[in-house]
Protein backbone atom coordinates (compact mmCIF):
# COMPACT_ATOMS: atom_id res chain seq x y z
CA UNK A 1 0.00 0.00 0.00
CA UNK A 2 1.49 3.26 -1.00
CA UNK A 3 2.53 5.97 1.39
CA UNK A 4 0.29 8.56 -0.31
CA UNK A 5 -2.77 6.42 0.27
CA UNK A 6 -2.18 6.27 4.01
CA UNK A 7 -1.75 10.02 4.29
CA UNK A 8 -4.88 10.75 2.29
CA UNK A 9 -6.89 8.13 4.15
CA UNK A 10 -5.77 9.59 7.48
CA UNK A 11 -6.70 13.09 6.31
CA UNK A 12 -10.17 12.00 5.18
CA UNK A 13 -10.93 10.00 8.31
CA UNK A 14 -9.66 12.83 10.51
CA UNK A 15 -11.92 15.27 8.67
CA UNK A 16 -14.90 12.97 9.04
CA UNK A 17 -14.26 12.41 12.76
CA UNK A 18 -13.85 16.13 13.37
CA UNK A 19 -17.06 16.79 11.48
CA UNK A 20 -19.14 14.65 13.81
CA UNK A 21 -17.36 15.32 17.08
CA UNK A 22 -16.72 19.06 17.23
CA UNK A 23 -18.99 21.36 19.21
CA UNK A 24 -18.84 24.43 17.01
CA UNK A 25 -21.03 23.92 13.94
CA UNK A 26 -18.96 26.04 11.58
CA UNK A 27 -15.86 24.08 12.54
CA UNK A 28 -17.80 20.92 11.68
CA UNK A 29 -18.67 22.33 8.29
CA UNK A 30 -15.03 23.22 7.60
CA UNK A 31 -13.90 19.78 8.76
CA UNK A 32 -16.30 18.10 6.37
CA UNK A 33 -14.85 20.32 3.62
CA UNK A 34 -11.42 18.87 4.48
CA UNK A 35 -12.94 15.39 4.26
CA UNK A 36 -14.34 16.20 0.81
CA UNK A 37 -10.92 17.45 -0.31
CA UNK A 38 -9.27 14.28 1.00
CA UNK A 39 -11.79 12.20 -0.91
CA UNK A 40 -11.16 14.15 -4.10
CA UNK A 41 -7.45 13.42 -3.72
CA UNK A 42 -8.26 9.73 -3.18
CA UNK A 43 -10.23 9.76 -6.43
CA UNK A 44 -7.21 11.27 -8.18
CA UNK A 45 -5.06 8.55 -6.64
CA UNK A 46 -7.44 6.03 -8.24
CA UNK A 47 -6.93 7.62 -11.70
CA UNK A 48 -10.50 8.95 -11.81
CA UNK A 49 -9.59 12.51 -12.79
CA UNK A 50 -12.99 13.65 -13.96
CA UNK A 51 -14.72 12.34 -10.84
CA UNK A 52 -12.08 13.96 -8.60
CA UNK A 53 -12.38 17.41 -10.15
CA UNK A 54 -16.17 17.13 -10.27
CA UNK A 55 -16.07 16.23 -6.55
CA UNK A 56 -14.09 19.40 -5.76
CA UNK A 57 -16.28 21.58 -7.94
CA UNK A 58 -19.61 20.25 -6.66
CA UNK A 59 -18.95 19.31 -3.05
CA UNK A 60 -16.45 21.94 -1.95
CA UNK A 61 -17.70 24.64 -4.29
CA UNK A 62 -21.41 24.16 -3.74
CA UNK A 63 -22.48 21.71 -1.00
CA UNK A 64 -20.05 23.00 1.63
CA UNK A 65 -21.14 26.57 0.96
CA UNK A 66 -24.80 25.53 1.16
CA UNK A 67 -24.17 23.90 4.53
CA UNK A 68 -22.41 27.01 5.79
CA UNK A 69 -25.22 29.28 4.63
CA UNK A 70 -27.78 27.05 6.33
CA UNK A 71 -25.78 27.14 9.57
CA UNK A 72 -25.70 30.92 9.47
CA UNK A 73 -29.38 31.27 8.55
CA UNK A 74 -30.45 29.03 11.43
CA UNK A 75 -28.23 30.72 14.01
CA UNK A 76 -26.17 27.60 14.50
CA UNK A 77 -23.00 29.50 15.17
CA UNK A 78 -24.03 30.37 18.70
CA UNK A 79 -22.47 28.20 21.37
CA UNK A 80 -24.81 25.47 22.66
CA UNK A 81 -26.14 25.58 26.20
CA UNK A 82 -23.98 23.70 28.64
CA UNK A 83 -26.58 21.41 30.20
CA UNK A 84 -28.02 20.19 26.94
CA UNK A 85 -24.82 19.44 25.10
CA UNK A 86 -24.49 18.65 21.44
CA UNK A 87 -25.24 14.96 21.47
CA UNK A 88 -28.74 13.58 21.41
CA UNK A 89 -30.27 11.66 24.34
CA UNK A 90 -30.06 8.44 22.40
CA UNK A 91 -26.44 8.76 21.38
CA UNK A 92 -25.39 5.37 22.67
CA UNK A 93 -27.82 3.48 20.43
CA UNK A 94 -26.58 5.38 17.39
CA UNK A 95 -22.95 4.68 18.22
CA UNK A 96 -23.63 0.98 18.73
CA UNK A 97 -25.43 0.74 15.40
CA UNK A 98 -22.61 2.49 13.56
CA UNK A 99 -19.95 0.36 15.22
CA UNK A 100 -21.84 -2.83 14.41
CA UNK A 101 -22.16 -1.74 10.79
CA UNK A 102 -18.45 -1.04 10.55
CA UNK A 103 -17.66 -4.41 12.10
CA UNK A 104 -19.83 -6.27 9.61
CA UNK A 105 -18.48 -4.36 6.60
CA UNK A 106 -14.84 -4.76 7.54
CA UNK A 107 -15.34 -8.45 8.25
CA UNK A 108 -16.87 -8.85 4.80
CA UNK A 109 -14.03 -6.95 3.13
CA UNK A 110 -11.28 -8.82 4.91
CA UNK A 111 -12.91 -12.19 4.34
CA UNK A 112 -12.99 -11.70 0.60
CA UNK A 113 -9.63 -9.92 0.35
CA UNK A 114 -8.05 -12.91 -1.30
CA UNK A 115 -10.52 -13.11 -4.13
CA UNK A 116 -10.29 -9.49 -5.23
CA UNK A 117 -8.22 -8.81 -8.34
CA UNK A 118 -4.66 -7.69 -7.83
CA UNK A 119 -3.65 -6.16 -11.12
CA UNK A 120 -2.55 -2.56 -10.99
CA UNK A 121 -2.95 -1.65 -14.65
CA UNK A 122 -4.32 1.89 -14.64
CA UNK A 123 -7.21 2.35 -17.05
CA UNK A 124 -6.63 5.32 -19.33
CA UNK A 125 -9.93 7.08 -19.51
CA UNK A 126 -10.21 10.28 -21.49
CA UNK A 127 -12.91 12.90 -21.21
CA UNK A 128 -13.88 12.03 -24.77
CA UNK A 129 -14.83 8.53 -23.65
CA UNK A 130 -16.83 9.90 -20.75
CA UNK A 131 -18.66 12.26 -23.08
CA UNK A 132 -19.41 9.49 -25.54
CA UNK A 133 -20.62 7.24 -22.73
CA UNK A 134 -22.85 9.99 -21.36
CA UNK A 135 -24.40 10.64 -24.73
CA UNK A 136 -24.55 7.02 -25.79
CA UNK A 137 -25.13 4.39 -23.20
CA UNK A 138 -26.11 6.66 -20.29
CA UNK A 139 -28.26 9.23 -22.03
CA UNK A 140 -31.42 8.18 -20.15
CA UNK A 141 -29.86 8.65 -16.69
CA UNK A 142 -28.44 11.97 -17.91
CA UNK A 143 -31.86 13.28 -18.91
CA UNK A 144 -33.42 12.00 -15.70
CA UNK A 145 -30.71 13.70 -13.63
CA UNK A 146 -31.36 16.92 -15.55
CA UNK A 147 -35.06 16.67 -14.69
CA UNK A 148 -34.19 15.86 -11.09
CA UNK A 149 -31.90 18.87 -10.78
CA UNK A 150 -34.57 21.18 -12.21
CA UNK A 151 -37.16 19.79 -9.79
CA UNK A 152 -34.71 20.10 -6.88
CA UNK A 153 -33.88 23.71 -7.74
CA UNK A 154 -37.51 24.76 -7.99
CA UNK A 155 -38.42 22.70 -4.93
CA UNK A 156 -35.65 24.12 -2.77
CA UNK A 157 -36.64 27.68 -3.67
CA UNK A 158 -40.31 27.01 -2.89
CA UNK A 159 -39.59 25.19 0.36
CA UNK A 160 -37.27 27.85 1.70
CA UNK A 161 -39.20 30.86 0.47
CA UNK A 162 -40.93 33.22 2.83
CA UNK A 163 -44.66 32.69 2.82
CA UNK A 164 -46.22 35.89 1.64
CA UNK A 165 -49.25 35.84 3.93
CA UNK A 166 -47.39 35.68 7.21
CA UNK A 167 -44.99 38.57 6.90
CA UNK A 168 -47.46 41.43 6.62
Amino acid sequence: MSFMFWILAALTIAGGLAAVLLKNLVHCALAVTVAFAGLALLFLQLDAQFAGFAQILVYIGAVAILVVFAILLTRGSETPKKEIGVFSRTWLAGLVVAAALFAVLSWAVLQSAGGLSQDDAAPTVSVLQIGQALMGRYVLPLEIVALLLTAATIGAVIVAMHEKEDSK
Binding site: V26, H27, L30, T33, A37, Q49, F50, F53, A54, I56, L57, I60, G61, A62, A64, I65, V68, F69, L72, S77, S126, V127, L128, H162, S167
Partner: protein, 391 residues
Amino acid sequence: MQEKADQIFILLRDWLVGFLPASWQTAAGVLLGVVAIIAVFPGLFALTTVLERKGIARIQNRLGPNRVGPFGILQPIADAIKSLTKEDVVPLTADHAVHFLAPVVLVIVVFMGFAVLPVGRNMQLVDMDSSLLFYFAMGASGEVSIFMAGWSSRNKYSLLGAMRAVAQMISYEVPLLLSSVVIVMITGSLSLVKIVEAQNQYTWGLPHWYIFTPWGCAAFLMYAISATAETNRSPFDLPEGESELVAGYFTEYSGFKFALFFLAEYLAMFSISGLGTTLFLGGWSAPFAFLGWVPSWIWFFSKVMMSIVVMIWVRGTLPRLRQDQLMNFAWKFVLPMTLLNLMVAALWRFMGEGWLRWVVCSAILIVAYVIAGRIGMRREHLGPRTYRYAE
Protein backbone atom coordinates in the same frame (compact mmCIF):
# COMPACT_ATOMS: atom_id res chain seq x y z
CA MET B 1 16.40 31.24 -34.44
CA GLN B 2 12.72 31.99 -33.96
CA GLU B 3 12.26 28.51 -32.53
CA LYS B 4 14.96 29.18 -29.99
CA ALA B 5 13.50 32.50 -28.89
CA ASP B 6 10.07 30.96 -28.67
CA GLN B 7 11.13 27.94 -26.65
CA ILE B 8 13.88 29.66 -24.70
CA PHE B 9 12.44 28.88 -21.30
CA ILE B 10 11.88 25.24 -22.17
CA LEU B 11 15.45 24.95 -23.43
CA LEU B 12 16.70 26.67 -20.28
CA ARG B 13 14.79 24.24 -18.10
CA ASP B 14 16.04 21.22 -20.03
CA TRP B 15 19.63 22.43 -19.78
CA LEU B 16 19.35 23.02 -16.02
CA VAL B 17 17.66 19.71 -15.41
CA GLY B 18 20.24 17.86 -17.49
CA PHE B 19 22.74 18.21 -14.68
CA LEU B 20 20.73 15.86 -12.45
CA PRO B 21 20.49 12.06 -12.59
CA ALA B 22 17.75 10.73 -14.84
CA SER B 23 15.33 9.63 -12.14
CA TRP B 24 15.12 13.14 -10.68
CA GLN B 25 14.66 14.96 -13.95
CA THR B 26 10.88 15.14 -14.32
CA ALA B 27 10.37 16.16 -10.70
CA ALA B 28 13.08 18.84 -11.00
CA GLY B 29 11.52 20.09 -14.24
CA VAL B 30 8.14 20.48 -12.56
CA LEU B 31 9.77 22.14 -9.57
CA LEU B 32 11.51 24.65 -11.85
CA GLY B 33 8.18 25.41 -13.49
CA VAL B 34 6.58 26.00 -10.09
CA VAL B 35 9.43 28.33 -9.09
CA ALA B 36 8.99 30.21 -12.36
CA ILE B 37 5.26 30.68 -11.73
CA ILE B 38 5.85 31.83 -8.16
CA ALA B 39 8.50 34.29 -9.35
CA VAL B 40 6.81 35.71 -12.46
CA PHE B 41 3.22 36.27 -11.40
CA PRO B 42 3.82 38.04 -8.10
CA GLY B 43 6.37 40.18 -9.97
CA LEU B 44 3.64 41.04 -12.44
CA PHE B 45 1.40 41.74 -9.44
CA ALA B 46 3.86 44.31 -8.15
CA LEU B 47 3.92 46.02 -11.54
CA THR B 48 0.12 45.97 -11.73
CA THR B 49 -0.41 47.65 -8.37
CA VAL B 50 1.54 50.66 -9.58
CA LEU B 51 -0.19 50.56 -12.97
CA GLU B 52 -3.58 50.48 -11.31
CA ARG B 53 -2.96 53.29 -8.90
CA LYS B 54 -1.47 55.52 -11.56
CA GLY B 55 -4.14 54.60 -14.10
CA ILE B 56 -7.08 55.18 -11.80
CA ALA B 57 -5.49 58.39 -10.56
CA ARG B 58 -5.17 59.71 -14.08
CA ILE B 59 -8.77 58.79 -14.84
CA GLN B 60 -9.78 60.71 -11.74
CA ASN B 61 -7.67 63.70 -12.81
CA ARG B 62 -4.97 63.39 -10.19
CA LEU B 63 -1.42 62.05 -10.08
CA GLY B 64 -0.89 58.64 -8.53
CA PRO B 65 2.04 57.68 -6.33
CA ASN B 66 5.01 59.60 -7.71
CA ARG B 67 7.49 59.90 -4.87
CA VAL B 68 9.12 56.55 -4.43
CA GLY B 69 10.91 56.06 -7.72
CA PRO B 70 10.85 57.70 -11.12
CA PHE B 71 7.08 58.05 -11.74
CA GLY B 72 6.45 55.99 -8.61
CA ILE B 73 7.65 52.70 -10.11
CA LEU B 74 9.29 51.53 -6.89
CA GLN B 75 6.05 51.98 -4.90
CA PRO B 76 5.46 48.19 -4.55
CA ILE B 77 8.72 47.85 -2.69
CA ALA B 78 7.57 50.48 -0.21
CA ASP B 79 4.22 48.71 0.10
CA ALA B 80 5.92 45.37 0.69
CA ILE B 81 8.16 46.75 3.41
CA LYS B 82 5.17 48.39 5.06
CA SER B 83 2.99 45.34 5.06
CA LEU B 84 5.75 43.05 6.28
CA THR B 85 6.69 45.22 9.21
CA LYS B 86 3.19 46.08 10.39
CA GLU B 87 1.94 44.55 13.60
CA ASP B 88 -0.33 41.56 13.07
CA VAL B 89 -3.48 42.43 14.99
CA VAL B 90 -5.92 39.59 15.62
CA PRO B 91 -9.16 40.32 17.51
CA LEU B 92 -9.37 38.71 20.94
CA THR B 93 -12.57 36.77 20.25
CA ALA B 94 -11.58 35.77 16.76
CA ASP B 95 -11.27 32.13 15.86
CA HIS B 96 -7.49 31.97 15.66
CA ALA B 97 -7.01 28.79 13.66
CA VAL B 98 -9.55 29.66 10.98
CA HIS B 99 -8.39 33.30 10.95
CA PHE B 100 -4.86 32.17 10.21
CA LEU B 101 -5.76 29.56 7.63
CA ALA B 102 -8.08 31.66 5.48
CA PRO B 103 -5.46 33.71 3.56
CA VAL B 104 -3.20 30.66 3.27
CA VAL B 105 -5.93 28.55 1.68
CA LEU B 106 -6.90 31.37 -0.67
CA VAL B 107 -3.36 31.92 -1.92
CA ILE B 108 -2.79 28.17 -2.41
CA VAL B 109 -5.99 27.76 -4.39
CA VAL B 110 -5.30 30.79 -6.60
CA PHE B 111 -1.76 29.62 -7.39
CA MET B 112 -3.09 26.19 -8.38
CA GLY B 113 -5.09 27.80 -11.16
CA PHE B 114 -1.89 28.90 -12.89
CA ALA B 115 -0.72 25.35 -13.34
CA VAL B 116 -2.87 24.67 -16.38
CA LEU B 117 -2.55 27.92 -18.31
CA PRO B 118 -0.57 27.50 -21.53
CA VAL B 119 1.71 30.51 -21.30
CA GLY B 120 3.42 29.76 -24.59
CA ARG B 121 3.98 26.96 -27.05
CA ASN B 122 4.65 23.82 -24.93
CA MET B 123 4.83 26.05 -21.88
CA GLN B 124 2.13 24.82 -19.54
CA LEU B 125 3.03 23.29 -16.20
CA VAL B 126 0.74 20.27 -16.54
CA ASP B 127 -1.16 19.07 -19.56
CA MET B 128 -4.23 17.25 -18.33
CA ASP B 129 -7.14 15.93 -20.29
CA SER B 130 -9.59 17.92 -18.21
CA SER B 131 -7.54 21.00 -17.37
CA LEU B 132 -10.44 23.45 -17.76
CA LEU B 133 -12.44 21.50 -15.20
CA PHE B 134 -9.44 21.61 -12.85
CA TYR B 135 -9.26 25.38 -13.24
CA PHE B 136 -12.92 25.86 -12.37
CA ALA B 137 -12.64 23.44 -9.45
CA MET B 138 -9.86 25.61 -8.02
CA GLY B 139 -11.91 28.73 -8.61
CA ALA B 140 -14.84 27.24 -6.72
CA SER B 141 -12.64 26.30 -3.78
CA GLY B 142 -11.67 29.92 -3.22
CA GLU B 143 -15.13 30.77 -1.98
CA VAL B 144 -14.77 28.62 1.13
CA SER B 145 -11.69 30.56 2.18
CA ILE B 146 -13.51 33.87 1.74
CA PHE B 147 -16.22 32.61 4.04
CA MET B 148 -13.58 31.46 6.52
CA ALA B 149 -12.03 34.93 6.50
CA GLY B 150 -15.31 36.69 7.04
CA TRP B 151 -16.67 34.40 9.73
CA SER B 152 -13.54 34.00 11.83
CA SER B 153 -13.19 37.71 12.45
CA ARG B 154 -16.36 37.79 14.62
CA ASN B 155 -17.26 41.10 13.10
CA LYS B 156 -20.67 41.94 11.67
CA TYR B 157 -19.24 43.86 8.75
CA SER B 158 -16.81 41.10 7.87
CA LEU B 159 -19.53 38.48 7.93
CA LEU B 160 -21.85 40.61 5.84
CA GLY B 161 -19.09 41.30 3.35
CA ALA B 162 -18.17 37.63 3.18
CA MET B 163 -21.76 36.52 2.64
CA ARG B 164 -22.22 39.08 -0.11
CA ALA B 165 -18.95 38.06 -1.74
CA VAL B 166 -19.82 34.36 -1.63
CA ALA B 167 -23.34 34.95 -2.96
CA GLN B 168 -21.93 37.06 -5.78
CA MET B 169 -19.28 34.50 -6.62
CA ILE B 170 -21.65 31.57 -6.77
CA SER B 171 -24.16 33.58 -8.81
CA TYR B 172 -21.61 34.53 -11.43
CA GLU B 173 -19.94 31.17 -11.50
CA VAL B 174 -22.75 29.63 -13.54
CA PRO B 175 -22.51 32.11 -16.47
CA LEU B 176 -18.70 31.82 -16.29
CA LEU B 177 -18.87 28.06 -16.71
CA LEU B 178 -21.58 28.19 -19.34
CA SER B 179 -19.69 30.67 -21.51
CA SER B 180 -16.63 28.44 -21.34
CA VAL B 181 -18.69 25.35 -22.14
CA VAL B 182 -19.52 26.87 -25.53
CA ILE B 183 -15.82 26.85 -26.38
CA VAL B 184 -15.48 23.27 -25.16
CA MET B 185 -18.43 22.22 -27.28
CA ILE B 186 -17.00 23.67 -30.47
CA THR B 187 -13.43 22.53 -29.86
CA GLY B 188 -14.37 19.09 -28.60
CA SER B 189 -11.91 18.96 -25.76
CA LEU B 190 -11.55 20.19 -22.18
CA SER B 191 -7.80 20.50 -22.54
CA LEU B 192 -6.58 24.10 -22.72
CA VAL B 193 -3.63 23.12 -24.92
CA LYS B 194 -5.98 21.72 -27.57
CA ILE B 195 -8.21 24.79 -27.36
CA VAL B 196 -5.27 27.07 -28.14
CA GLU B 197 -4.08 24.81 -30.93
CA ALA B 198 -7.54 24.88 -32.49
CA GLN B 199 -7.35 28.67 -32.60
CA ASN B 200 -3.86 28.75 -34.07
CA GLN B 201 -4.99 28.52 -37.69
CA TYR B 202 -5.16 31.36 -40.15
CA THR B 203 -7.61 32.07 -42.99
CA TRP B 204 -6.55 34.85 -45.40
CA GLY B 205 -4.12 36.02 -42.73
CA LEU B 206 -6.77 36.39 -40.04
CA PRO B 207 -6.68 34.00 -37.08
CA HIS B 208 -9.41 31.64 -36.04
CA TRP B 209 -9.78 33.14 -32.60
CA TYR B 210 -13.14 32.39 -31.09
CA ILE B 211 -13.82 36.02 -30.34
CA PHE B 212 -14.21 36.66 -34.07
CA THR B 213 -17.33 34.49 -34.33
CA PRO B 214 -20.78 35.75 -33.27
CA TRP B 215 -21.24 33.21 -30.49
CA GLY B 216 -17.64 33.67 -29.40
CA CYS B 217 -18.03 37.42 -29.14
CA ALA B 218 -21.19 37.08 -27.05
CA ALA B 219 -19.54 34.42 -24.92
CA PHE B 220 -16.49 36.64 -24.44
CA LEU B 221 -18.66 39.51 -23.24
CA MET B 222 -20.50 37.26 -20.79
CA TYR B 223 -17.17 35.80 -19.67
CA ALA B 224 -15.71 39.26 -19.15
CA ILE B 225 -18.69 40.35 -17.03
CA SER B 226 -18.64 37.16 -14.99
CA ALA B 227 -14.86 37.30 -14.56
CA THR B 228 -15.05 40.86 -13.26
CA ALA B 229 -17.70 39.74 -10.79
CA GLU B 230 -15.84 36.59 -9.75
CA THR B 231 -12.76 38.51 -8.73
CA ASN B 232 -14.82 41.15 -6.90
CA ARG B 233 -13.60 43.97 -9.11
CA SER B 234 -15.47 47.15 -9.76
CA PRO B 235 -18.24 47.65 -10.72
CA PHE B 236 -19.02 44.51 -8.72
CA ASP B 237 -16.90 45.26 -5.69
CA LEU B 238 -19.58 45.83 -3.10
CA PRO B 239 -18.12 43.14 -0.82
CA GLU B 240 -14.99 45.18 -0.45
CA GLY B 241 -16.30 48.64 -1.01
CA GLU B 242 -14.57 50.96 1.35
CA SER B 243 -17.46 53.29 1.73
CA GLU B 244 -20.03 50.62 2.57
CA LEU B 245 -18.46 47.87 4.56
CA VAL B 246 -15.22 49.23 5.97
CA ALA B 247 -13.20 46.70 4.04
CA GLY B 248 -15.53 43.75 3.78
CA TYR B 249 -14.25 40.35 4.68
CA PHE B 250 -10.69 41.42 5.28
CA THR B 251 -11.47 44.15 7.78
CA GLU B 252 -9.72 42.44 10.66
CA TYR B 253 -6.59 41.51 8.79
CA SER B 254 -3.48 43.62 8.95
CA GLY B 255 0.10 43.37 7.88
CA PHE B 256 1.22 40.33 6.00
CA LYS B 257 -2.16 38.56 5.95
CA PHE B 258 -3.73 41.59 4.30
CA ALA B 259 -0.90 41.57 1.77
CA LEU B 260 -1.71 37.90 1.10
CA PHE B 261 -5.37 38.72 0.44
CA PHE B 262 -4.36 41.57 -1.83
CA LEU B 263 -1.94 39.26 -3.67
CA ALA B 264 -4.62 36.61 -4.01
CA GLU B 265 -7.11 39.08 -5.46
CA TYR B 266 -4.70 40.33 -8.12
CA LEU B 267 -3.46 36.85 -8.92
CA ALA B 268 -7.05 35.71 -9.37
CA MET B 269 -7.46 38.61 -11.78
CA PHE B 270 -4.37 37.48 -13.74
CA SER B 271 -5.42 33.89 -13.81
CA ILE B 272 -8.95 34.58 -14.97
CA SER B 273 -7.64 36.98 -17.65
CA GLY B 274 -5.19 34.27 -18.67
CA LEU B 275 -8.03 31.79 -19.00
CA GLY B 276 -10.10 34.28 -20.99
CA THR B 277 -7.13 34.86 -23.29
CA THR B 278 -6.70 31.11 -23.75
CA LEU B 279 -10.35 30.45 -24.45
CA PHE B 280 -11.31 33.43 -26.59
CA LEU B 281 -8.30 35.44 -27.69
CA GLY B 282 -6.20 32.60 -29.02
CA GLY B 283 -3.81 32.13 -26.11
CA TRP B 284 -0.28 32.37 -27.36
CA SER B 285 -1.07 32.63 -31.08
CA ALA B 286 -0.18 35.75 -33.03
CA PRO B 287 -2.88 38.03 -34.46
CA PHE B 288 -1.67 37.77 -38.05
CA ALA B 289 0.17 34.97 -39.77
CA PHE B 290 3.12 37.15 -40.74
CA LEU B 291 3.70 38.07 -37.08
CA GLY B 292 4.45 34.50 -36.14
CA TRP B 293 8.10 35.22 -35.61
CA VAL B 294 7.45 36.98 -32.29
CA PRO B 295 7.78 34.47 -29.40
CA SER B 296 4.50 32.99 -28.22
CA TRP B 297 4.87 33.94 -24.56
CA ILE B 298 5.16 37.61 -25.51
CA TRP B 299 1.75 37.41 -27.19
CA PHE B 300 0.20 35.69 -24.17
CA PHE B 301 1.49 38.23 -21.68
CA SER B 302 0.55 41.18 -23.91
CA LYS B 303 -3.00 39.92 -24.20
CA VAL B 304 -3.24 39.34 -20.45
CA MET B 305 -1.87 42.81 -19.69
CA MET B 306 -4.34 44.31 -22.16
CA SER B 307 -7.18 42.59 -20.33
CA ILE B 308 -5.83 43.90 -17.02
CA VAL B 309 -5.66 47.43 -18.44
CA VAL B 310 -9.29 47.14 -19.57
CA MET B 311 -10.29 45.93 -16.10
CA ILE B 312 -8.51 48.89 -14.48
CA TRP B 313 -10.16 51.23 -16.96
CA VAL B 314 -13.60 49.82 -16.17
CA ARG B 315 -12.90 50.22 -12.45
CA GLY B 316 -12.12 53.86 -12.85
CA THR B 317 -15.10 54.57 -15.04
CA LEU B 318 -18.21 52.76 -13.87
CA PRO B 319 -20.05 53.28 -10.58
CA ARG B 320 -20.54 50.44 -8.17
CA LEU B 321 -23.57 48.18 -8.50
CA ARG B 322 -25.80 47.51 -5.51
CA GLN B 323 -26.02 43.92 -4.32
CA ASP B 324 -29.52 43.23 -5.55
CA GLN B 325 -28.84 44.92 -8.88
CA LEU B 326 -25.79 42.73 -9.26
CA MET B 327 -27.65 39.48 -8.54
CA ASN B 328 -30.57 40.56 -10.70
CA PHE B 329 -28.17 41.16 -13.55
CA ALA B 330 -26.61 37.74 -13.13
CA TRP B 331 -29.70 35.64 -12.95
CA LYS B 332 -32.00 37.57 -15.25
CA PHE B 333 -29.71 38.74 -18.01
CA VAL B 334 -26.34 37.04 -18.15
CA LEU B 335 -27.54 33.50 -17.50
CA PRO B 336 -30.32 33.43 -20.14
CA MET B 337 -27.93 34.98 -22.66
CA THR B 338 -25.32 32.29 -22.03
CA LEU B 339 -27.92 29.54 -22.42
CA LEU B 340 -29.10 31.05 -25.69
CA ASN B 341 -25.49 31.39 -26.79
CA LEU B 342 -25.01 27.67 -26.27
CA MET B 343 -27.86 26.92 -28.63
CA VAL B 344 -26.63 29.48 -31.18
CA ALA B 345 -23.19 27.88 -31.14
CA ALA B 346 -24.76 24.46 -31.77
CA LEU B 347 -26.71 25.97 -34.68
CA TRP B 348 -23.47 27.45 -36.04
CA ARG B 349 -21.75 24.11 -35.88
CA PHE B 350 -24.43 22.29 -37.79
CA MET B 351 -25.25 24.90 -40.40
CA GLY B 352 -22.18 24.28 -42.51
CA GLU B 353 -19.68 26.73 -43.91
CA GLY B 354 -20.68 29.93 -45.60
CA TRP B 355 -21.91 33.44 -44.95
CA LEU B 356 -25.48 32.39 -44.00
CA ARG B 357 -24.53 31.05 -40.62
CA TRP B 358 -22.81 34.32 -39.73
CA VAL B 359 -25.94 36.33 -40.55
CA VAL B 360 -28.39 33.98 -38.82
CA CYS B 361 -26.35 33.60 -35.62
CA SER B 362 -25.60 37.30 -35.32
CA ALA B 363 -29.26 38.15 -35.91
CA ILE B 364 -30.46 35.73 -33.23
CA LEU B 365 -27.96 37.06 -30.70
CA ILE B 366 -28.70 40.73 -31.35
CA VAL B 367 -32.47 40.25 -31.18
CA ALA B 368 -32.13 38.25 -27.96
CA TYR B 369 -29.90 40.90 -26.43
CA VAL B 370 -32.40 43.65 -27.19
CA ILE B 371 -35.35 41.64 -25.87
CA ALA B 372 -33.55 40.45 -22.73
CA GLY B 373 -32.26 43.93 -22.08
CA ARG B 374 -35.71 45.44 -22.33
CA ILE B 375 -37.63 42.80 -20.39
CA GLY B 376 -35.10 41.46 -17.92
CA MET B 377 -33.56 44.69 -16.80
CA ARG B 378 -36.61 46.90 -16.69
CA ARG B 379 -36.64 49.12 -13.66
CA GLU B 380 -39.51 48.13 -11.42
CA HIS B 381 -42.15 50.68 -10.63
CA LEU B 382 -41.28 51.93 -7.17
CA GLY B 383 -44.25 51.90 -4.82
CA PRO B 384 -44.41 52.74 -1.12
CA ARG B 385 -41.48 51.27 0.73
CA THR B 386 -42.05 48.01 2.62
CA TYR B 387 -39.78 46.59 5.27
CA ARG B 388 -39.00 42.97 5.92
CA TYR B 389 -37.24 42.34 9.19
CA ALA B 390 -34.78 39.54 9.77
CA GLU B 391 -36.26 36.82 11.95
